[in-house]
């Protein structure tokens, strides 16, 4: 048996060489995609169609329910939104909210930068950051509102206080884990050029960890926005003019359900705008352009 096996050899085949065809003679090598295929590749278009479908479902369900006090139709909500915008009230309220939001967000990010900067440069800083994050990250920002009111009184400072709390931990946690994930080769390359301290962090670590930092900024933004609306719902007016949360609360009391929906709608629209325009633009000009993110 084994002798027979050993005797089986692959047949000897002739060698050959060939001329390859000129590419022009092969015919179709590349071909433009059809119109539908190209339209399907446009992300904003796909998203828009999805939104339109959701709005249609909403409209149909609300018309069928026929109870504007509980669930106004999409059309009513848009009408209320337009009315609010035209009368200027909704815009004014939104502006109040956004002003507070930007202040709190900026302060939170600045503190996060300092904390993570300390954390990458000293071991004590690392311990401080990880302990503080572990302690405060699970604490809902809104739970600190009573304390904020006690310390800073009824007004913007206490709102900013809770906003900082909601932004700070999400941003520093993501930034720091981004720093830790920077490859050893890049670190050594940076040191090789003689970079040290702040310039090393700013010129090597921050750009290399940018995908994680952007995620942190996005999460922080969402936390801040929802904390702000919740805080306004709880304590409402500050210095005469309330924000968007207060607008929602007032209209609920007056049973203007369409206006409540319009207020919620505004919150969503601003969220969508920041996410898909502002952050997307930042990503497109940085991490996507650099091939660090698909």
């Amino acid at each position: 048996m084994s002798a027979e096996h050993a005797a089986i050899l692959p047949p000897v085949r002739p060698e050959f060489e060939r001329q390859t065809l000129d590419a022009r003679n092969i015919g179709e090598i590349e071909r433009p995609l059809s119109l539908w295929e190209r339209l399907g590749n446009i992300t904003p278009l796909r998203r828009f169609l999805l939104l339109a479908a959701l709005a249609a479902i909403w409209q149909l369900y609300a018309s069928w329910l026929d109870n504007p006090l509980i669930f106004p139709t999409f059309g009513d909500t848009v009408a209320a939104l337009v009315k609010g915008v035209v009368s200027g009230e909704l815009l004014a309220r939104t502006l109040v909210s956004i002003k507070v939001l930007v202040m709190g967000y900026a302060a939170g990010v600045a503190i996060a930068a300092v904390l993570t900067g300390l954390a990458v440069s000293t071991r004590l800083g690392t311990d401080l950051l990880s302990t503080l994050t572990a302690m405060f990250n699970p604490l809902p920002a809104i739970a600190l509102l009573p304390l904020g009111l006690l310390w800073f009184g009824l007004g913007n400072p206490s709102l900013i206080f809770v906003l900082i709390h909601s932004v700070l931990w999400a941003v520093s946690l993501n930034t720091f884990s981004g720093f830790l994930a920077v490859s050893q080769t890049l670190r050594m390359a940076g040191h090789n050029y003689g970079l040290k301290g702040v310039s090393y962090v700013a010129r090597i670590l921050v750009p290399a960890a940018l995908p994680a930092i952007l995620t942190g900024l996005k999460v922080g933004w969402a936390f801040a926005w929802r904390t702000l609306i919740a805080a306004e719902l709880v304590f409402g007016v500050s210095s005469g003019s309330g924000g968007l949360g207060w607008y929602i609360y007032e209209n609920k009391n007056e049973l203007e359900t369409a206006n409540v929906f319009a207020g919620l709608f505004t919150v969503i629209i601003i969220g969508l705008f920041i996410e898909s325009v502002v952050f997307r633009a930042i990503e497109n000009s940085t991490v996507r352009k650099w091939g660090m993110q698909q």
Binding site: T185, L186, M188, N192, P207
Partner: protein, 291 residues
């Protein structure tokens, strides 16, 4: 400066002749006279023991290794994995401090990483992904404040052209192939015009054909610019092609086994067999001794 390092070496526990394969007494005396004398070695590694810590162990990577690199040398550190050749290169780069012995560049002890010793790493991710090819090459010159913006641009374009990537100056690294990325890394290191180029298996992650091509290109560049380089590899073939002098290291911990002159053409195969014998004889001996 030289006197200072001289006393350091005398006080330290370093044996006077760490490398018994080479008579070096005469050379050594002449070095003290003028550190920048072109006849004296550029890089002196003397009785260097390097250790690094892992979570559980303190690993001795090299034990009393010594060698000298002269200007214009293509000096190869060759050995199997675990012979501490990369660790040795990191020691020269200043990323590790020897526990014993000294590493001197131009007579000055190396203490920290610096732009006078540019590293080229094996990994493709050594390029900064947020900078274009040109900006990558310019970055070390600007970061170390060696050059003005204009001078850096000029030098960058020169060296990018030398590695044949003139058309790719404004492209981001993620759009390049592995070989092209390594070329950029080499251009980046050379544009700094460092005292010595440190190459840590720069072609190991490339496919065989590209690798062969890169070796030839590197030799052409050397013909052109005559830089000094310290090149780490585990490939005997690559060592003979790229190097003019080869330090053969034994593993666990790395010790000097031989220092050889490379040959091209006729004698290359014999040299390859000789080195292979040197490295494998030990492996066989060990395997024999194990049971």
């Amino acid at each position: 400066m030289t006197r200072e390092t001289g006393t350091l070496a005398a006080v330290g526990p370093t044996p006077p002749h760490p490398n018994p394969l080479r008579p070096e007494g005469a050379e050594r005396e002449s070095r003290g006279a003028a550190a920048s004398d072109p006849a004296s070695p550029l890089l002196e590694v003397e009785g260097v023991t390097l250790q690094y810590k892992t979570k559980q162990h303190l690993v001795t990577a090299t034990y009393r290794v010594g060698f000298e690199v002269h200007r214009g040398d293509r000096f190869i550190l060759l050995g199997p994995s675990g012979c501490g050749k990369s660790t040795l290169l990191k020691g020269v780069g200043g990323f590790l401090t020897p526990v014993e012995g000294s590493i001197r560049l131009n007579g000055r002890t190396i203490e920290r990483p610096g732009p006078d010793r540019m590293m080229v790493f094996q990994e493709f991710d050594q390029l900064l992904p947020w900078k274009t090819v040109k900006q990558n090459v310019m970055f070390p010159m600007l970061a170390s404040r060696r050059c003005s913006q204009r001078e850096a641009t000029d030098r960058a374009m020169t060296y990018i052209a030398k590695v044949g990537l003139d058309k790719f100056g404004d492209v981001y690294p993620h759009m390049l192939s592995g070989g092209m990325k390594q070329r950029v890394a080499i251009a980046r290191a050379m544009a700094m015009e460092p005292e010595i180029l440190l190459m840590d298996e720069p072609f190991a992650a490339l496919d065989a054909l590209t690798r062969r091509k890169m070796q030839d290109e590197l030799l052409q560049l050397w013909d052109d610019i005559r830089f000094t380089m310290l090149f780490v590899t585990h490939s005997i073939e690559e060592a003979i092609i790229v190097g003019n002098r080869i330090l053969v290291l034994s593993p666990h911990p790395g010790q000097v086994k031989a220092e050889l002159n490379s040959v091209r053409g006729e004698g290359a195969e014999a040299l390859q067999r000789r080195i292979r014998g040197m490295l494998f004889a030990e492996a066989i001996e060990r395997a024999g001794a194990a049971p």
